[in-house]
């Protein structure tokens, strides 16, 4: 079979329509787990038929109809099962609902679904998998491949997540104003984790995992369109774009990690940088500065330097100082120490690292050793740096990072 020209359009179209279709079906039938299965079946049917027969005139209506039919079948069989039980128990049989018209589409459905799938009570692995399937429109097989787990395991993870949503009886509507900020922050965190999983291509087929970054950007873009005035949503989207812009320069031909200051900056994606800079600048002008906006602003300062030596480190240091007052995340403290070293010299940075030895969240972390090794190297303490690079290499669980740290130690030790 020769693939028709519509092939390439089908997949993105299905992914965009998935949450709209699911929202429409859930509002009709309520039963989230069963509705989600019905929509997934409709998406799979479309993925098989549309490339062959062409995209229907009303693709969303087509998907909704197929999903509704599946749901009606499901409800009928549930009813006949329960009626049989009711007859035995001497109760009146249940009546099937009548399908009159096509359910209406509500643009907020995507947001409602995200709030549901990223509910703070769900463990991260479950929230990530469910979000990618129910909101992202990815198949179980695609998600399983991206996370390098068997399809059956991932299917179970999704099914358990759906059951726990059903049991918690979270209503299918936007959370009220009181709840909203907290719930939005867990949505953003899940999107951030999906991006990160794709960006840190630490193992497995690199392409598959890069797709996760694209998927995270696409979903965050959708949230930004629905909540254009939320600075943190804009900040996260900007952070993703500004980080992802460096993708082509971040690894060498053998997959080896290239640090920011050694990257070929002509390989950076200028269009993504321009979009990210515009987003974060607009968000910062609106006030209500949040962590994602500050992270994005820092990424923007890096991305705007044509050469590493042109980097405006005093500005980065100022931004990290604001960020450090806002959060007690030790990774921020670590980066603040690096920025301090870039402005005031390695010893000033090393002084700021000392208190982190007592912070159990980071004291055993390879990044603390790696940063200290870097600063010691810059301060001329080469032997100490070599030993700390090796300590860090032994602790990290990222293969490219381990290779980078080992090479750094080897190079420095030969120069001793």
């Amino acid at each position: 079979v020769t693939p028709s020209p519509s092939d390439r359009r089908v997949e993105p179209l299905l992914r965009d329509l998935a949450p709209q279709v699911l929202g429409a079906v859930v509002r009709r039938f309520r039963d989230f787990p069963a509705c989600e299965d019905a929509v997934q079946e409709a998406l799979i049917a479309a993925a098989a038929q549309w490339p062959r027969d062409g995209i229907p005139g009303n693709p969303r209506g087509w998907l909704i109809q197929v999903a509704l039919r599946r749901m009606t079948d499901h409800v009928r069989s549930e009813i006949s099962r329960r009626s049989r039980e009711a007859v035995v128990a001497g109760e009146a049989p249940v009546v099937a609902p009548v399908l009159d018209s096509e359910p209406s589409i509500d643009p907020d459905d995507t947001l409602v679904l995200l709030f549901m799938c990223c509910h703070p009570s769900l463990p991260p692995l479950s929230a990530i998998a469910l979000t990618l399937r129910a909101v992202g429109g990815l198949t179980t097989a695609e998600i399983a491949k991206a996370f390098l787990v068997p399809e059956s395991t991932l299917a179970q993870r999704i099914s358990r997540a759906k059951q726990s949503i059903k049991k918690s009886r979270v209503p299918f509507r936007l959370p009220d104003a009181r709840e909203r900020a907290r719930r939005l922050s867990s949505v953003l965190h899940v999107l951030y984790l999906i991006f990160n999983e794709g960006y840190t291509t630490t193992s497995g087929p690199a392409l598959q995992r890069t797709d996760l970054s694209n998927e995270a950007i696409r979903l965050t873009r959708a949230v930004h369109q629905l909540l254009p005035d939320d600075g943190e949503v804009a900040g996260l989207l900007a952070l993703m774009l500004l980080t992802d812009a460096r993708r082509a320069a971040r690894t060498g031909p053998g997959g080896e990690l290239i640090p920011l200051d050694e990257q070929d900056r002509t390989l950076w994606d200028a269009q993504a940088i321009a979009e990210g800079v515009a987003l974060v600048s607009a968000a910062l002008r609106q006030g209500a500065v949040g962590e994602y906006q500050l992270q994005a602003a820092i990424a923007a300062v890096h991305d705007e330097a044509t050469r590493a030596e042109d980097t405006d480190w005093p500005q980065i240091l100022a931004l990290y100082s604001v960020l450090k007052r806002m959060t007690d995340n030790p990774m921020v403290a670590l980066n603040h120490a690096i920025a301090t070293a870039m402005v005031h010299g390695p010893h000033a940075g090393l002084d700021l690292l000392a208190p982190l030895d007592d912070d159990e969240r980071v004291s055993g972390h390879h990044r603390l050793d790696a940063v200290r090794a870097h600063l010691l190297e810059r301060a001329g303490h080469r032997a100490a740096a070599v030993s700390l690079y090796r300590t860090a290499a032994e602790k990290t669980t990222s293969v490219p990072e381990r290779n980078y740290l080992m090479m750094r130690a080897a190079r420095l030790s030969e120069a001793l």
């Binding site: 390098l148 787990v149 993870r157 999704i158 984790l193 669980t397 381990r402």
Partner: protein
């Protein structure tokens, strides 16, 4: 985060295993099947295998022509891998919990099972 849970055995471990009473073997087999089902249903199982007896293990090196040269395992080797589980979980604590459950597998005698837990390279990192 992925972890490998390893059950190790001394050189004569398999002979000991083969000599268990019938009820204990049955309970052990049922436990292992049930455990796999449970981990899979929890969406945590990546893979699990049991290995054949170290009595059949070979040490292999490349000969001068690149062809394999085989030998039996070293007599001084004390520990052998008997089987493993790879799980994908939200935290190291959850991996330890599963390991503790594995360690309750029915077996003969009163020597406890020790499970070695190792993180698999490639766990994702927080960029911030």
């Amino acid at each position: 985060m992925k972890f490998m849970l390893m059950m190790n055995t001394p050189r004569d471990g398999y002979a000991w295993y083969m000599s268990w009473p019938k009820e204990v073997i049955e309970a052990n087999v049922a436990f292992m099947i049930e455990l796999s089902k449970k981990l899979s249903a929890a969406g945590e199982l990546v893979s699990t295998e049991g290995l054949a007896s170290p009595a059949r293990a070979k040490l292999v090196r490349a000969g001068k022509d690149g062809k394999p040269v085989t030998d039996g395992v070293f007599p001084e080797s004390k520990e052998f891998l008997a089987g493993y589980w790879i799980v994908d979980v939200d935290s190291p604590e959850r991996a330890y919990e599963i390991a503790a459950e594995v360690a309750t597998a029915p077996h003969a005698g009163d020597v406890p099972f020790w499970i070695e837990v190792r993180e698999v390279m490639g766990s994702h990192k927080d960029l911030r």
